[in-house]
Amino acid sequence: MKIKNISKSFGGIKALDSCNIEIKKKKINAIIGPNGSGKTTLFNIISGLIKPDKGEIIFQGHDILKLEDFERAKLGISRTFQEVRLFKNLTAKDHIDISLSENYESVLKSVIKKKRSNRKKIKRILKTVDLDKKLGSYVSDLSYGQRKLLDLAIVMAKKHSILLLDEPVAGVNPKLREKIKEILRELREKGETIVLIEHDMNFVMEIAEFIYVLDYGKVIAAGRPKEIQKNKKVLEVYLGG
Protein backbone atom coordinates (compact mmCIF):
# COMPACT_ATOMS: atom_id res chain seq x y z
CA MET A 1 0.00 0.00 0.00
CA LYS A 2 1.33 3.40 -0.98
CA ILE A 3 -0.07 6.53 0.66
CA LYS A 4 0.86 9.52 -1.47
CA ASN A 5 0.56 13.19 -0.45
CA ILE A 6 -2.54 12.70 1.64
CA SER A 7 -3.81 15.91 3.22
CA LYS A 8 -6.88 16.46 5.33
CA SER A 9 -8.07 19.52 7.22
CA PHE A 10 -10.94 19.85 9.67
CA GLY A 11 -11.89 23.50 9.57
CA GLY A 12 -8.61 25.33 10.15
CA ILE A 13 -6.82 22.34 11.66
CA LYS A 14 -4.55 20.29 9.45
CA ALA A 15 -4.96 16.68 10.53
CA LEU A 16 -2.75 15.34 7.74
CA ASP A 17 -0.30 17.37 5.73
CA SER A 18 1.08 15.80 2.53
CA CYS A 19 1.54 12.49 4.26
CA ASN A 20 3.60 9.86 2.41
CA ILE A 21 3.81 6.32 3.72
CA GLU A 22 4.67 3.05 2.07
CA ILE A 23 3.43 0.04 3.98
CA LYS A 24 5.99 -2.76 3.99
CA LYS A 25 4.51 -6.03 2.78
CA LYS A 26 4.48 -9.05 5.10
CA LYS A 27 5.80 -6.99 7.98
CA ILE A 28 4.44 -5.43 11.14
CA ASN A 29 4.30 -1.71 10.44
CA ALA A 30 3.54 0.79 13.19
CA ILE A 31 2.35 4.37 13.00
CA ILE A 32 3.05 6.31 16.13
CA GLY A 33 2.75 9.89 17.20
CA PRO A 34 1.32 12.08 19.95
CA ASN A 35 -2.42 12.54 20.35
CA GLY A 36 -3.86 14.51 17.46
CA SER A 37 -0.99 13.71 15.13
CA GLY A 38 -3.38 12.27 12.52
CA LYS A 39 -2.95 8.51 13.00
CA THR A 40 -6.63 7.58 13.29
CA THR A 41 -7.55 10.11 10.59
CA LEU A 42 -5.17 8.26 8.30
CA PHE A 43 -6.83 4.92 9.12
CA ASN A 44 -10.25 6.48 8.53
CA ILE A 45 -9.11 7.76 5.14
CA ILE A 46 -7.64 4.39 4.16
CA SER A 47 -10.81 2.54 5.14
CA GLY A 48 -13.07 5.08 3.43
CA LEU A 49 -14.79 6.71 6.39
CA ILE A 50 -13.30 10.12 5.60
CA LYS A 51 -12.45 11.68 2.25
CA PRO A 52 -9.04 13.38 2.05
CA ASP A 53 -8.63 16.85 0.58
CA LYS A 54 -5.93 15.58 -1.77
CA GLY A 55 -3.58 12.73 -2.46
CA GLU A 56 -3.94 9.10 -3.47
CA ILE A 57 -3.70 5.67 -1.92
CA ILE A 58 -2.60 2.82 -4.14
CA PHE A 59 -3.54 -0.64 -3.00
CA GLN A 60 -3.33 -3.73 -5.19
CA GLY A 61 -3.00 -1.55 -8.26
CA HIS A 62 -6.10 0.55 -7.53
CA ASP A 63 -6.44 4.13 -6.34
CA ILE A 64 -8.76 3.11 -3.54
CA LEU A 65 -9.93 6.66 -2.86
CA LYS A 66 -12.33 6.17 -5.75
CA LEU A 67 -13.92 3.19 -4.01
CA GLU A 68 -16.60 3.11 -1.33
CA ASP A 69 -15.73 1.89 2.17
CA PHE A 70 -17.25 -1.58 1.70
CA GLU A 71 -15.50 -1.99 -1.68
CA ARG A 72 -12.15 -1.29 -0.02
CA ALA A 73 -12.97 -3.88 2.63
CA LYS A 74 -13.82 -6.36 -0.15
CA LEU A 75 -10.49 -5.58 -1.76
CA GLY A 76 -8.78 -6.85 1.39
CA ILE A 77 -8.53 -3.97 3.86
CA SER A 78 -9.50 -5.19 7.30
CA ARG A 79 -9.51 -2.84 10.28
CA THR A 80 -10.31 -2.46 13.94
CA PHE A 81 -11.29 0.72 15.76
CA GLN A 82 -9.90 2.46 18.83
CA GLU A 83 -13.31 2.01 20.48
CA VAL A 84 -14.25 -1.63 19.89
CA ARG A 85 -17.12 -1.78 17.38
CA LEU A 86 -19.21 -4.89 17.74
CA PHE A 87 -22.83 -5.79 17.00
CA LYS A 88 -24.45 -5.82 20.41
CA ASN A 89 -27.36 -8.12 19.58
CA LEU A 90 -25.24 -10.75 17.84
CA THR A 91 -23.29 -13.61 19.39
CA ALA A 92 -19.54 -14.13 19.06
CA LYS A 93 -20.31 -16.94 16.60
CA ASP A 94 -22.50 -14.64 14.47
CA HIS A 95 -19.72 -12.04 14.32
CA ILE A 96 -17.25 -14.54 12.88
CA ASP A 97 -19.90 -16.08 10.64
CA ILE A 98 -20.62 -12.68 9.07
CA SER A 99 -16.93 -11.95 8.62
CA LEU A 100 -16.33 -15.29 6.91
CA SER A 101 -19.38 -15.14 4.67
CA GLU A 102 -19.26 -13.84 1.15
CA ASN A 103 -22.69 -14.91 -0.10
CA TYR A 104 -25.02 -13.89 2.70
CA GLU A 105 -26.16 -10.85 0.76
CA SER A 106 -28.60 -12.77 -1.42
CA VAL A 107 -32.16 -13.09 -0.07
CA LEU A 108 -33.01 -15.81 -2.55
CA LYS A 109 -30.03 -17.97 -1.61
CA SER A 110 -30.84 -17.54 2.05
CA VAL A 111 -34.34 -18.92 1.43
CA ILE A 112 -33.52 -21.67 -1.05
CA LYS A 113 -30.09 -22.89 0.02
CA LYS A 114 -29.68 -25.20 2.96
CA LYS A 115 -27.85 -23.58 5.83
CA ARG A 116 -24.20 -24.58 5.68
CA SER A 117 -22.67 -24.88 9.10
CA ASN A 118 -19.42 -22.96 9.60
CA ARG A 119 -19.33 -23.99 13.23
CA LYS A 120 -16.02 -25.85 13.12
CA LYS A 121 -14.26 -23.09 11.25
CA ILE A 122 -15.74 -20.44 13.54
CA LYS A 123 -14.69 -22.40 16.61
CA ARG A 124 -11.16 -22.73 15.26
CA ILE A 125 -10.92 -18.98 14.69
CA LEU A 126 -12.32 -18.18 18.12
CA LYS A 127 -9.86 -20.65 19.65
CA THR A 128 -6.95 -18.60 18.35
CA VAL A 129 -8.12 -15.76 20.61
CA ASP A 130 -9.22 -18.07 23.47
CA LEU A 131 -12.89 -17.36 22.90
CA ASP A 132 -13.99 -20.79 21.70
CA LYS A 133 -16.01 -21.26 24.90
CA LYS A 134 -17.85 -18.01 24.28
CA LEU A 135 -19.37 -19.07 20.96
CA GLY A 136 -22.96 -18.26 21.94
CA SER A 137 -22.19 -15.24 24.11
CA TYR A 138 -23.59 -11.84 23.26
CA VAL A 139 -21.30 -8.81 23.32
CA SER A 140 -22.82 -7.63 26.61
CA ASP A 141 -21.69 -10.90 28.23
CA LEU A 142 -18.04 -10.34 27.25
CA SER A 143 -15.44 -8.43 29.25
CA TYR A 144 -13.57 -5.51 27.69
CA GLY A 145 -10.56 -7.72 27.01
CA GLN A 146 -12.71 -10.41 25.42
CA ARG A 147 -14.33 -7.80 23.21
CA LYS A 148 -10.88 -6.67 22.08
CA LEU A 149 -10.02 -10.28 21.23
CA LEU A 150 -13.30 -10.82 19.40
CA ASP A 151 -12.64 -7.64 17.42
CA LEU A 152 -9.26 -9.07 16.43
CA ALA A 153 -10.83 -12.41 15.52
CA ILE A 154 -13.36 -10.68 13.25
CA VAL A 155 -10.72 -8.88 11.19
CA MET A 156 -8.67 -12.04 11.03
CA ALA A 157 -11.66 -14.07 9.82
CA LYS A 158 -12.57 -11.60 7.11
CA LYS A 159 -10.81 -12.21 3.79
CA HIS A 160 -7.99 -9.69 3.83
CA SER A 161 -4.54 -8.82 2.61
CA ILE A 162 -3.79 -6.07 5.10
CA LEU A 163 -4.74 -5.63 8.75
CA LEU A 164 -5.12 -2.13 10.18
CA LEU A 165 -5.22 -2.29 13.97
CA ASP A 166 -6.09 0.86 15.87
CA GLU A 167 -4.61 0.62 19.37
CA PRO A 168 -4.89 -3.16 19.77
CA VAL A 169 -3.59 -3.19 23.35
CA ALA A 170 -5.15 0.02 24.69
CA GLY A 171 -6.73 -0.59 28.09
CA VAL A 172 -5.91 -4.30 28.29
CA ASN A 173 -4.14 -6.05 31.19
CA PRO A 174 -0.51 -7.23 30.85
CA LYS A 175 -1.53 -10.86 30.34
CA LEU A 176 -3.83 -9.99 27.48
CA ARG A 177 -1.23 -7.63 26.07
CA GLU A 178 1.16 -10.58 25.81
CA LYS A 179 -1.57 -12.71 24.24
CA ILE A 180 -2.24 -10.07 21.58
CA LYS A 181 1.48 -9.75 20.93
CA GLU A 182 1.68 -13.52 20.45
CA ILE A 183 -1.28 -13.49 18.03
CA LEU A 184 0.26 -10.68 15.97
CA ARG A 185 3.60 -12.50 15.81
CA GLU A 186 1.86 -15.65 14.61
CA LEU A 187 0.08 -13.64 11.93
CA ARG A 188 3.38 -12.11 10.88
CA GLU A 189 4.92 -15.56 10.59
CA LYS A 190 2.07 -16.54 8.29
CA GLY A 191 3.06 -13.66 6.02
CA GLU A 192 0.38 -11.16 6.95
CA THR A 193 0.85 -7.43 6.44
CA ILE A 194 -0.06 -5.56 9.61
CA VAL A 195 -0.27 -1.85 10.32
CA LEU A 196 -0.88 -0.80 13.88
CA ILE A 197 -1.42 2.45 15.66
CA GLU A 198 -0.33 2.28 19.27
CA HIS A 199 0.53 4.53 22.18
CA ASP A 200 2.25 1.79 24.17
CA MET A 201 5.82 2.44 23.06
CA ASN A 202 7.25 -0.69 24.67
CA PHE A 203 4.74 -2.78 22.74
CA VAL A 204 5.57 -1.02 19.47
CA MET A 205 9.32 -1.36 19.95
CA GLU A 206 8.97 -5.04 20.81
CA ILE A 207 6.80 -6.00 17.88
CA ALA A 208 7.08 -3.52 15.01
CA GLU A 209 9.54 -4.01 12.18
CA PHE A 210 9.07 -0.64 10.57
CA ILE A 211 7.80 2.53 12.18
CA TYR A 212 6.42 5.81 10.85
CA VAL A 213 6.25 8.74 13.24
CA LEU A 214 3.61 11.38 12.68
CA ASP A 215 3.51 14.83 14.17
CA TYR A 216 0.94 17.48 13.23
CA GLY A 217 -0.06 15.33 10.27
CA LYS A 218 3.44 15.07 8.82
CA VAL A 219 5.74 12.08 8.72
CA ILE A 220 8.75 13.25 10.73
CA ALA A 221 10.62 9.95 10.78
CA ALA A 222 10.52 6.47 9.33
CA GLY A 223 12.68 3.47 10.00
CA ARG A 224 13.38 0.40 12.09
CA PRO A 225 12.64 0.55 15.84
CA LYS A 226 16.28 1.06 16.78
CA GLU A 227 16.64 3.90 14.29
CA ILE A 228 13.47 5.55 15.56
CA GLN A 229 14.62 5.29 19.17
CA LYS A 230 17.75 7.23 18.26
CA ASN A 231 16.12 9.73 15.92
CA LYS A 232 16.64 13.25 17.24
CA LYS A 233 13.42 14.64 15.78
CA VAL A 234 11.43 11.87 17.38
CA LEU A 235 13.13 12.37 20.72
CA GLU A 236 12.48 16.10 20.57
CA VAL A 237 8.93 16.07 19.31
CA TYR A 238 7.51 12.80 20.48
CA LEU A 239 9.49 11.57 23.44
CA GLY A 240 9.96 15.05 24.84
CA GLY A 241 13.68 15.44 24.26
Partner: protein
Amino acid sequence: MIFPYLIHILILIGIYLILAVSLNLSLGYAGLLSLGHVALFGIGAYTSALLNINGVPFVFSFLLAGLLAGFFGFLLAFATGKLKGDYYALASLGFAFVVYSLLLNLTEITRGPLGIPGISKPQIFGWAIKDNFSYLIFLALVCFVSIFLINKIVNSGFGKLLGAMRDDETGLRILGKDTKKLKYKTMFVSGFFAGISGSLFAHYIGFIDPNTFYISELVLILTIVILGGIASLKGSITATFVVIVLSELMRFLPLPSAIIGPGRQIVYAIVLIIILMFRPRGLLGRIDLE
Protein backbone atom coordinates in the same frame (compact mmCIF):
# COMPACT_ATOMS: atom_id res chain seq x y z
CA MET B 1 -74.03 -15.51 14.96
CA ILE B 2 -70.86 -15.95 16.98
CA PHE B 3 -69.21 -18.27 14.44
CA PRO B 4 -69.27 -15.88 11.43
CA TYR B 5 -68.04 -13.07 13.66
CA LEU B 6 -65.20 -15.25 14.92
CA ILE B 7 -64.23 -16.03 11.33
CA HIS B 8 -64.27 -12.31 10.53
CA ILE B 9 -61.92 -11.60 13.43
CA LEU B 10 -59.60 -14.44 12.41
CA ILE B 11 -59.47 -13.11 8.85
CA LEU B 12 -58.53 -9.64 10.12
CA ILE B 13 -55.89 -11.23 12.34
CA GLY B 14 -54.47 -13.11 9.33
CA ILE B 15 -54.26 -9.98 7.18
CA TYR B 16 -52.65 -7.88 9.91
CA LEU B 17 -50.33 -10.73 10.81
CA ILE B 18 -48.71 -10.63 7.36
CA LEU B 19 -48.61 -6.84 7.52
CA ALA B 20 -47.03 -6.82 10.99
CA VAL B 21 -44.35 -9.42 10.27
CA SER B 22 -43.46 -7.62 7.05
CA LEU B 23 -43.01 -4.38 9.02
CA ASN B 24 -41.01 -6.23 11.65
CA LEU B 25 -38.65 -7.41 8.92
CA SER B 26 -37.73 -3.83 7.97
CA LEU B 27 -38.18 -2.13 11.34
CA GLY B 28 -37.20 -4.83 13.78
CA TYR B 29 -34.64 -6.93 11.97
CA ALA B 30 -33.05 -4.33 9.70
CA GLY B 31 -33.56 -1.30 11.95
CA LEU B 32 -35.26 0.78 9.26
CA LEU B 33 -37.93 2.83 10.98
CA SER B 34 -40.16 2.71 7.94
CA LEU B 35 -43.29 4.75 8.55
CA GLY B 36 -44.30 4.36 4.91
CA HIS B 37 -45.46 0.80 5.46
CA VAL B 38 -49.11 1.75 5.43
CA ALA B 39 -48.59 3.21 1.94
CA LEU B 40 -47.16 -0.09 0.71
CA PHE B 41 -50.22 -1.83 2.16
CA GLY B 42 -52.39 0.66 0.24
CA ILE B 43 -50.45 0.26 -3.00
CA GLY B 44 -51.01 -3.50 -2.78
CA ALA B 45 -54.71 -3.10 -2.07
CA TYR B 46 -55.29 -0.60 -4.90
CA THR B 47 -53.21 -2.56 -7.41
CA SER B 48 -55.14 -5.73 -6.73
CA ALA B 49 -58.52 -3.96 -6.66
CA LEU B 50 -57.94 -2.03 -9.91
CA LEU B 51 -56.70 -5.12 -11.74
CA ASN B 52 -59.61 -7.14 -10.36
CA ILE B 53 -62.32 -4.77 -11.55
CA ASN B 54 -60.65 -4.75 -14.95
CA GLY B 55 -60.96 -8.50 -15.22
CA VAL B 56 -57.45 -9.63 -14.31
CA PRO B 57 -57.52 -13.03 -12.57
CA PHE B 58 -56.90 -12.97 -8.81
CA VAL B 59 -53.63 -14.92 -8.91
CA PHE B 60 -52.02 -12.26 -11.13
CA SER B 61 -53.52 -9.26 -9.35
CA PHE B 62 -52.42 -10.74 -6.00
CA LEU B 63 -48.83 -11.31 -7.15
CA LEU B 64 -48.64 -7.98 -8.97
CA ALA B 65 -49.90 -6.24 -5.83
CA GLY B 66 -46.95 -7.71 -3.94
CA LEU B 67 -44.45 -6.96 -6.69
CA LEU B 68 -45.56 -3.35 -7.17
CA ALA B 69 -45.60 -2.65 -3.43
CA GLY B 70 -42.17 -4.32 -3.24
CA PHE B 71 -40.95 -2.09 -6.07
CA PHE B 72 -42.18 1.01 -4.22
CA GLY B 73 -40.46 -0.27 -1.07
CA PHE B 74 -37.27 -0.53 -3.08
CA LEU B 75 -37.81 2.99 -4.51
CA LEU B 76 -38.31 4.38 -1.02
CA ALA B 77 -35.05 2.79 0.14
CA PHE B 78 -33.28 3.99 -3.01
CA ALA B 79 -34.50 7.58 -2.70
CA THR B 80 -33.65 7.77 1.00
CA GLY B 81 -30.34 5.91 0.67
CA LYS B 82 -28.31 8.55 2.48
CA LEU B 83 -30.78 9.10 5.32
CA LYS B 84 -30.53 7.32 8.64
CA GLY B 85 -32.58 7.00 11.82
CA ASP B 86 -35.07 9.80 12.44
CA TYR B 87 -34.44 11.37 9.03
CA TYR B 88 -35.31 8.12 7.30
CA ALA B 89 -38.44 7.80 9.45
CA LEU B 90 -39.53 11.32 8.47
CA ALA B 91 -38.88 10.72 4.79
CA SER B 92 -40.83 7.46 4.86
CA LEU B 93 -43.69 9.21 6.67
CA GLY B 94 -43.65 11.79 3.88
CA PHE B 95 -43.92 8.91 1.40
CA ALA B 96 -47.04 7.68 3.23
CA PHE B 97 -48.62 11.14 2.94
CA VAL B 98 -47.74 11.39 -0.76
CA VAL B 99 -49.30 8.00 -1.54
CA TYR B 100 -52.40 8.91 0.48
CA SER B 101 -52.72 12.18 -1.44
CA LEU B 102 -52.29 10.39 -4.76
CA LEU B 103 -54.97 7.83 -3.87
CA LEU B 104 -57.23 10.71 -2.94
CA ASN B 105 -56.52 12.95 -5.93
CA LEU B 106 -55.86 10.65 -8.88
CA THR B 107 -59.62 10.36 -9.20
CA GLU B 108 -59.53 9.06 -12.79
CA ILE B 109 -57.70 5.98 -11.64
CA THR B 110 -58.59 5.55 -7.97
CA ARG B 111 -62.03 7.26 -7.90
CA GLY B 112 -60.60 9.39 -5.08
CA PRO B 113 -62.67 9.57 -1.90
CA LEU B 114 -65.44 7.50 -3.51
CA GLY B 115 -63.20 4.47 -3.27
CA ILE B 116 -63.37 1.28 -5.28
CA PRO B 117 -66.42 -0.89 -4.69
CA GLY B 118 -67.25 -4.33 -6.05
CA ILE B 119 -63.92 -6.05 -5.55
CA SER B 120 -64.72 -9.70 -5.95
CA LYS B 121 -63.75 -12.60 -3.76
CA PRO B 122 -60.79 -14.54 -5.16
CA GLN B 123 -61.00 -17.34 -7.66
CA ILE B 124 -57.88 -19.47 -7.81
CA PHE B 125 -57.55 -21.83 -10.77
CA GLY B 126 -61.24 -22.71 -10.66
CA TRP B 127 -61.57 -22.67 -6.86
CA ALA B 128 -64.09 -19.92 -6.13
CA ILE B 129 -63.76 -18.57 -2.63
CA LYS B 130 -67.28 -17.45 -2.00
CA ASP B 131 -67.79 -17.64 1.74
CA ASN B 132 -65.69 -16.31 4.59
CA PHE B 133 -64.76 -19.71 5.90
CA SER B 134 -63.12 -20.66 2.59
CA TYR B 135 -61.43 -17.27 2.58
CA LEU B 136 -60.07 -17.98 6.05
CA ILE B 137 -58.60 -21.29 4.89
CA PHE B 138 -56.98 -19.61 1.88
CA LEU B 139 -55.70 -16.78 4.08
CA ALA B 140 -54.31 -19.24 6.64
CA LEU B 141 -52.34 -20.85 3.83
CA VAL B 142 -50.93 -17.52 2.61
CA CYS B 143 -50.19 -16.54 6.21
CA PHE B 144 -48.32 -19.77 6.83
CA VAL B 145 -46.22 -19.44 3.67
CA SER B 146 -45.48 -15.75 4.38
CA ILE B 147 -44.40 -16.35 7.96
CA PHE B 148 -42.41 -19.42 6.92
CA LEU B 149 -40.51 -17.40 4.30
CA ILE B 150 -39.90 -14.39 6.53
CA ASN B 151 -38.80 -16.68 9.35
CA LYS B 152 -36.40 -18.38 6.96
CA ILE B 153 -34.99 -15.02 5.87
CA VAL B 154 -34.45 -13.66 9.38
CA ASN B 155 -32.80 -16.87 10.55
CA SER B 156 -30.46 -17.06 7.56
CA GLY B 157 -27.11 -15.44 6.97
CA PHE B 158 -28.98 -12.57 5.32
CA GLY B 159 -30.92 -12.13 8.57
CA LYS B 160 -27.66 -11.95 10.51
CA LEU B 161 -26.47 -9.19 8.20
CA LEU B 162 -29.71 -7.29 8.85
CA GLY B 163 -29.16 -7.58 12.60
CA ALA B 164 -25.60 -6.34 12.23
CA MET B 165 -26.78 -3.43 10.06
CA ARG B 166 -29.35 -2.50 12.71
CA ASP B 167 -26.64 -2.49 15.41
CA ASP B 168 -23.86 -0.71 13.52
CA GLU B 169 -24.14 0.07 9.82
CA THR B 170 -20.61 1.47 9.49
CA GLY B 171 -19.19 -1.56 11.31
CA LEU B 172 -20.86 -3.83 8.76
CA ARG B 173 -19.66 -1.80 5.76
CA ILE B 174 -16.12 -2.05 7.09
CA LEU B 175 -16.56 -5.82 6.87
CA GLY B 176 -17.20 -5.44 3.14
CA LYS B 177 -20.99 -5.59 3.09
CA ASP B 178 -22.95 -3.26 0.84
CA THR B 179 -25.59 -2.02 3.29
CA LYS B 180 -27.39 0.04 0.63
CA LYS B 181 -28.18 -3.12 -1.31
CA LEU B 182 -29.22 -4.83 1.90
CA LYS B 183 -31.72 -2.02 2.49
CA TYR B 184 -33.08 -2.21 -1.06
CA LYS B 185 -33.62 -5.95 -0.78
CA THR B 186 -35.17 -5.71 2.67
CA MET B 187 -37.57 -2.99 1.62
CA PHE B 188 -38.52 -4.94 -1.50
CA VAL B 189 -39.33 -8.07 0.50
CA SER B 190 -41.07 -6.10 3.25
CA GLY B 191 -43.07 -4.19 0.63
CA PHE B 192 -43.96 -7.39 -1.19
CA PHE B 193 -45.59 -8.91 1.87
CA ALA B 194 -47.28 -5.60 2.78
CA GLY B 195 -48.63 -5.55 -0.78
CA ILE B 196 -50.08 -9.04 -0.66
CA SER B 197 -51.70 -8.30 2.70
CA GLY B 198 -53.23 -5.21 1.05
CA SER B 199 -54.55 -7.41 -1.76
CA LEU B 200 -56.03 -9.87 0.76
CA PHE B 201 -57.64 -6.97 2.60
CA ALA B 202 -59.19 -5.50 -0.56
CA HIS B 203 -60.59 -8.84 -1.73
CA TYR B 204 -62.01 -9.61 1.70
CA ILE B 205 -63.71 -6.28 2.42
CA GLY B 206 -64.75 -5.77 -1.21
CA PHE B 207 -64.39 -2.00 -0.97
CA ILE B 208 -61.39 0.26 -0.35
CA ASP B 209 -60.93 4.01 -0.08
CA PRO B 210 -57.88 6.17 0.74
CA ASN B 211 -58.86 6.57 4.41
CA THR B 212 -58.19 2.87 4.99
CA PHE B 213 -54.52 3.61 4.31
CA TYR B 214 -54.14 6.78 6.33
CA ILE B 215 -51.65 7.32 9.15
CA SER B 216 -54.14 6.03 11.75
CA GLU B 217 -53.67 2.58 10.22
CA LEU B 218 -49.92 2.96 10.66
CA VAL B 219 -50.43 3.50 14.39
CA LEU B 220 -52.23 0.15 14.55
CA ILE B 221 -49.43 -1.75 12.77
CA LEU B 222 -46.71 0.00 14.78
CA THR B 223 -48.56 -0.84 18.01
CA ILE B 224 -48.62 -4.51 17.02
CA VAL B 225 -44.91 -4.64 16.17
CA ILE B 226 -43.75 -2.67 19.21
CA LEU B 227 -46.08 -4.50 21.61
CA GLY B 228 -44.87 -7.87 20.34
CA GLY B 229 -41.24 -6.81 20.41
CA ILE B 230 -39.00 -5.75 17.59
CA ALA B 231 -37.12 -8.51 15.78
CA SER B 232 -39.51 -11.11 17.18
CA LEU B 233 -41.88 -12.91 14.83
CA LYS B 234 -43.49 -14.75 17.73
CA GLY B 235 -44.04 -11.37 19.35
CA SER B 236 -45.70 -9.95 16.23
CA ILE B 237 -47.98 -12.99 15.97
CA THR B 238 -49.01 -12.77 19.63
CA ALA B 239 -49.49 -9.01 19.50
CA THR B 240 -51.64 -9.20 16.36
CA PHE B 241 -54.06 -11.48 18.21
CA VAL B 242 -54.04 -9.23 21.29
CA VAL B 243 -54.48 -5.93 19.46
CA ILE B 244 -57.10 -7.08 16.94
CA VAL B 245 -59.18 -8.85 19.60
CA LEU B 246 -58.85 -5.84 21.92
CA SER B 247 -59.87 -3.54 19.10
CA GLU B 248 -62.92 -5.72 18.31
CA LEU B 249 -63.91 -5.98 21.96
CA MET B 250 -64.19 -2.21 22.06
CA ARG B 251 -67.22 -2.52 19.82
CA PHE B 252 -69.15 -3.90 22.75
CA LEU B 253 -68.49 -0.93 24.99
CA PRO B 254 -71.67 1.08 25.67
CA LEU B 255 -70.38 4.05 23.72
CA PRO B 256 -71.60 5.79 20.55
CA SER B 257 -69.88 4.49 17.43
CA ALA B 258 -68.50 7.98 16.76
CA ILE B 259 -66.39 7.60 19.88
CA ILE B 260 -65.27 3.99 19.33
CA GLY B 261 -63.04 4.86 16.32
CA PRO B 262 -61.04 7.65 17.98
CA GLY B 263 -61.18 5.63 21.22
CA ARG B 264 -59.24 2.84 19.53
CA GLN B 265 -56.54 5.28 18.45
CA ILE B 266 -56.29 6.49 22.03
CA VAL B 267 -55.95 2.91 23.29
CA TYR B 268 -53.21 2.17 20.71
CA ALA B 269 -51.36 5.32 21.74
CA ILE B 270 -51.64 4.41 25.44
CA VAL B 271 -50.37 0.88 24.74
CA LEU B 272 -47.43 2.32 22.79
CA ILE B 273 -46.53 4.77 25.56
CA ILE B 274 -46.75 2.08 28.26
CA ILE B 275 -44.56 -0.28 26.24
CA LEU B 276 -41.98 2.40 25.49
CA MET B 277 -41.83 3.45 29.13
CA PHE B 278 -41.89 0.12 30.93
CA ARG B 279 -41.03 -2.66 28.50
CA PRO B 280 -39.11 -1.38 25.48
CA ARG B 281 -38.48 -4.97 24.40
CA GLY B 282 -42.21 -5.60 24.02
CA LEU B 283 -43.92 -8.84 25.05
CA LEU B 284 -41.51 -11.31 23.46
CA GLY B 285 -38.68 -9.20 22.07
CA ARG B 286 -35.02 -9.48 22.97
CA ILE B 287 -33.91 -6.15 21.60
CA ASP B 288 -34.50 -2.77 23.19
CA LEU B 289 -36.31 -0.21 21.13
CA GLU B 290 -34.00 2.78 20.92
